[in-house]
């Protein structure tokens, strides 16, 4: 249905907007940013939080008795709005002063300091004292492998609740209690680790304050880097290089791969490797698994699990282990690129370099907080020595670069070390929704048809719609593929599979908006989905610039199979590059 346009006046500017536009959006369209702490809408996704609970965005509407919350008041024809009258400023100040009345004054040492939206609004309104001092809200604190909860700092914006319940359909966090005692907590006031939390970190990504943050491992990393007995190596995920620049003032979508490698060398890593290398290995394994399942399926074996679902996203893995114990045979058994890297580094590479396992420290830089949990899974350790020792986020890396006094802008561009640094364009696109599937198609197509791809780019599987599908012609066989991001969408697909109504052969799932580029460990987007889209554009540019664009053409991968694994799905590959899943249903 076509929207009618209406016109109104905001701060003496005439603005024409479609009917149904909120005052907040109308103001934004002419460059007036009304401050808000609770509103958040990733346009094009169901991540839409507008409880109008913070009351920071109030504006004056001519003829209206009370102030209107701009985030949830629709524009009307002929409306006259003032976004910063004396009355508005006074109201906003009082609202913030009341929020500060029970807020812990720990800004100096708060991990969110400098990026805190409450702090920003407080400064914006020039609030220099806290006139109300009330009782402090004291809540249970919790530190999991991935997420730290300090709800004393919570301002009840409900963004985390929207991400956890509406967007991810996980339901680990929700409002509990009433009045001053309200808190955002896991069901039955349990610890997060005893709930269905997948550690996706989307709550962390949208929290305006320091209530939900990632668990940081940078101090442990610095200790290891200082230790002369340790060889410390690092792998960097594809989505990190298109986002890290934002932390240093670069425009969203700036590719900083070369500087990133320089920075890691300056920080003191002995070798700087690339998760893209193991992403190529993932394609070798997962692509082969797909072909194996497909050929059995086409030969009439109806017991073979179809569709094959990707298994790179650790939040998604946690999600199906918790919610779909009856479908654990559906996802690929291939480990994620992070874990394949760890297994390859601590076995193949360590053996080559003659470094003993206990001396080797493998660190990962990830756009993700669930990766912190994933690397601590007991199945990814040998004699309690994990394949990946710990994982830090893109944000933590930025902190580390600043702490090391490195002038990021002035850094020269450097190349990853080899052999675990060589990669293809197929691996680069793992960072975006649709990327893993496209990478798998590039390899599976050529291995299956034994013909070179007529066109490397599978445009049909790209894009930013949260559920997409396409049909690929494999020598006359119509391969139905689907891509989804957001665990709420994944749940719907899983329910279709459970009901026997799924028509797809392969499905890619990523938990975060837009895939890893919108991960819980990335520089904060503050609700601006355009930033994530800019990162996606950069990912495909990175791919186009690569000399090799198919995983099975990566010469270091070919060599590794010759020297160590034999071939994909070999016994050794199964042992080190594949995993198993178990029923982790939560009981109440």
């Amino acid at each position: 249905m076509e929207h009618k346009n209406i016109s109104l006046i905001i701060d003496n500017h005439k603005v024409v907007v479609p009917e149904d536009t909120t005052i907040l959006d109308a103001a934004k369209s002419i460059g007036i940013n009304i401050p808000t702490l609770c509103h958040m809408h990733l346009k094009g996704t169901c991540a839409d939080n507008h409880p109008a609970s913070c009351r920071v965005c109030v504006v004056e509407v001519k003829g209206r008795r009370n102030l209107a919350p701009a985030c949830s008041t629709k524009c009307a024809d002929g409306m006259e709005v003032k976004t910063s009258s004396i009355r508005v400023i006074r109201a906003r100040k009082t609202v913030i002063e009341l929020m500060l009345s029970d807020h812990p004054n720990e800004c100096l040492s708060c991990p969110k300091s400098g990026k805190c939206e409450l702090q920003a609004v407080t400064q914006h309104l020039s609030i220099n004292e806290t006139p109300f001092s009330g009782e402090l809200s004291l809540r249970k604190k919790e530190m999991t492998a991935s997420i730290v909860r300090n709800m004393d700092k919570c301002i009840y914006c409900r963004r985390c609740e929207t991400m956890c319940n509406v967007y991810q359909s996980v339901g680990a966090l929700g409002a509990v209690g009433r009045g001053f005692n309200t808190t955002i907590a896991p069901t039955f006031d349990r610890m997060l680790k005893d709930t269905d939390c997948t550690y996706c970190g989307q709550c962390v990504a949208v929290c305006p304050v320091g209530a939900l943050t990632e668990r940081t491992y940078t101090d442990q990393l610095i200790d290891d880097l200082e230790n002369p007995d340790k060889v410390v190596i690092v792998q960097v995920a594809p989505a990190v290089r298109v986002a890290l620049g934002e932390e240093f003032g670069n425009a969203p979508g700036t590719i900083v791969t070369g500087k990133l490698v320089s920075a890691l060398k300056d920080i003191g890593f002995d070798y700087v490797f690339d998760t893209d290398f193991s992403a190529d290995a993932t394609i070798m394994e997962e692509g082969s698994e797909l072909l194996d399942r497909l050929s059995k399926f086409l030969n009439g074996d109806k017991s073979v699990p179809i569709p094959l679902m990707t298994s790179c996203c650790p939040a998604w893995v946690n999600f199906y282990e918790h919610n779909f114990p009856d479908l654990l045979h559906i996802p690929s058994t291939a480990r994620s690129p992070q874990q394949m890297f760890g297994a390859i580094a601590k076995n193949y590479w360590a053996e080559k370099m003659q470094i003993s396992r206990d001396k080797l420290v493998v660190v990962s830089v990830m756009p993700c907080v669930a990766k912190k949990f994933e690397c601590q899974r007991p199945e990814f350790a040998t004699n309690k020595n994990p394949d990946v020792d710990y994982s830090i986020t893109t944000r933590e890396l930025a902190t580390l670069i600043r702490r090391a006094n490195i002038n990021f802008d002035a850094l020269p561009k450097m190349e990853f070390d080899n052999p675990l640094g060589e990669s293809s364009g197929a691996a680069a696109i793992f960072g975006s929704t649709g990327g893993v599937l496209e990478a798998a198609l590039r390899t599976a197509y050529e291995l299956y048809t034994k013909k070179p791809l007529p066109k490397i780019d599978f445009e049909d599987v790209r894009g930013m719609d949260s559920v997409r599908s396409a049909t690929i012609d494999l020598n006359g066989f119509a391969l139905n593929v689907a891509i989804a991001y957001g665990l709420g969408n994944a749940r719907k697909l899983m329910e279709e599979i459970r009901a026997g109504k799924c028509k797809y052969h392969v499905i890619e799932i990523m938990a975060c908006p837009g895939g890893c580029i919108g991960g819980g460990g990335q520089p904060l987007h503050h609700g601006d989905f355009e930033i994530i889209k800019a990162r996606q554009k950069a990912i495909y540019e990175e791919d186009r610039n690569m000399p090799i664009r198919k995983s099975h053409e990566n010469s270091s991968i070919i060599k590794m199979y010759e020297e160590f694994f034999g071939k994909p799905l070999s016994q050794k590959a199964h042992e080190l590059l594949h995993t198993h899943y178990s029923d982790k249903t939560i009981k109440y």
Binding site: L173, G177, R178, F188, Y588
Partner: protein
């Protein structure tokens, strides 16, 4: 956590959900009826309701903790409620409440270990002329004095 619910109770809770067409919008009505049936809303019951309604358990838990009427602790065999309405309050119902707390060794919202008594407050039973008033089950006691508390507890203890 409460002990496992019997199959018949699970079926009853499911039947209540079915009666309301498993509509998430009927959550409060369903919780009312479930509490009426069971006396309280243990975790397992909330999990069953969430599953039947296709909503996260935390939504159910959020509603249960929001409304003071809902409780997650089983009521005693003899639920005691002290009226805290204006008339009873000015006639000293708080002291009566304190005496019940002392005698039973529990706080408001709790149940004695033997499951005999639970203690709650309520707002006006419409017997202001008898203030201060307490109810035990559906029996009303008026003109209460501190010395009555032990007698009432003793009377029901033997039951």
């Amino acid at each position: 956590m409460a002990e496992k619910l019997s199959c018949s109770i699970v079926d009853k809770i499911k039947a209540i959900c079915d009666k309301f067409d498993n509509k998430p919008g009927e959550l409060i009505n369903i919780l009312h009826e479930a509490q009426h049936t069971l006396g309280y809303l243990p975790m397992e019951v909330q999990a069953i309701i969430a599953e039947k309604l296709g909503i996260p358990v935390n939504r159910v838990y959020g509603v249960v903790t929001f409304y003071a009427f809902f409780t997650m602790t089983p009521k005693g065999k003899h639920p005691i409620s002290i009226c805290m309405g204006t008339a009873c309050y000015v006639r000293g119902s708080e002291k009566i409440l304190d005496e019940f707390k002392r005698t039973l060794g529990i706080e408001v919202g709790e149940t004695t270990a033997d499951g005999k008594f639970s203690l709650d407050c309520l707002r006006c039973v419409g017997a202001c002329g008898l203030a201060p008033v307490a109810m035990v089950g559906d029996k009303v006691f008026g003109h209460l004095q501190l010395s009555d508390v032990k007698r009432i507890v003793k009377e029901f203890s033997e039951d």
